[in-house]
Point group: C2
Chain length 210, copies 2
């Protein structure tokens, strides 16, 4: 176990905690007081670490996720829907409809994302978020702006689908997709922020010095 912890760069106590929480399957017993852990355990532990430390996903959400991934009887797509919902924190006081919700639904219609569940946590949260920021003289999220982000996301998702390594087993592929969802999402966030830093700097210094 200490070797597993070392290789994933987490403490042994944390591994024990994850075992207890069901995030990690128990090791194969190689004696009454000894267990061995294989590559699948290590990979799982690394994925859990990425989701926790990079994505800040709470342990309770990870429990839902591993439960779905480890349930071999669940179709892959159903697992991914459960995962998407678990990754999305719910925003307090969610009105199920309203103008923001209509705005979201219409935008998804226009881009042709017909397969997104009406009750997907992402969809609900997006509507709640838009109605939250849209007050009075705050930020505006109108049809055109939303369309721009939707189109950009569409292009991004089409490209990302090509990057999935399909040579692995079910759990491996699912874990890659989940870790990729979180990790590449964070990469995009960081790059976007750096882009803002850059363009604000060159605007201040004057376009001439660019």
């Amino acid at each position: 176990m200490s070797e597993l912890a070392d290789r994933a760069e987490v403490s042994v106590a944390t591994v024990k905690y994850y075992l207890r929480a069901g995030l990690l399957a128990p090791g194969r017993r190689s004696g009454p007081r000894l267990a061995t852990y294989d590559d699948a355990h290590l990979r799982r532990l690394r994925v859990v670490r990425i989701l926790r430390e990079v994505g800040g996903i709470p342990v309770t959400a990870l429990q839902q996720i591993v439960e779905a991934v480890d349930d071999e009887s669940k179709p892959e797509h159903e697992v991914l829907c459960l995962v998407a919902d678990a990754l999305t924190p719910t925003l307090a006081d969610v009105p199920p409809d309203g103008p923001a919700r209509d705005l979201v639904d219409a935008a998804l219609d226009r881009v042709g994302w017909t397969a997104v569940r009406p009750d997907a946590a992402d969809r609900v949260r997006l509507a709640a978020l838009i109605s939250m920021v849209g007050g009075d003289d705050m930020l505006t999220v109108d049809r055109d702006i939303l369309d721009y982000y939707v189109r950009l996301s569409d292009e991004l998702c089409r490209t990302e689908r090509e990057l999935i390594d399909k040579t692995k087993d079910r759990a491996g592929t699912l874990e890659d997709m989940i870790a990729g969802e979180v990790a590449f999402g964070e990469i995009l966030t960081l790059l976007r922020r750096m882009g803002h830093e850059h363009y604000h700097a060159v605007a201040r210094l004057g376009p001439g010095s660019h």
Copy 2:
């Protein structure tokens, strides 16, 4: 104060807590036991709420942010750099160099983002993140993939710069930019996740039914 709390949809106790934490300036005294709050207070409170509930930004980071925003002597760009660093959580055990860091630096060079500070928290975190996910048979983040995300971010940032409402005062503009950083970042995350849900669904059902 209760009117302020109602209009921003937070509890009076929370407003008191934010006042104590320095996230909100005290109201103008209209009597020995009475204070009034204006639109700037309301706007600030709404921004704080968005950063907390949507962005999950910790209160300590918000303290750094409002301190910078309220310091009129600080140049706008310096404020935004401080904000960017405050928005970015530090990843434990950060090696200042290594192959991942070189990968990041080279990618930013290629896109021409020369004005991003070498010690920007985003830059450091991105390198740490890449070295974290890149282990063994995990996700690969190579030059080409990174370039793709950088180019997409570049396009996104160029567009987003057009959307800023410059008719407000300093604090208003800064707050818009900060709230926008967080809110539109989250919008992008949600849309991307929905895009994945959609494309995975149509791939399973077969392209014929699309």
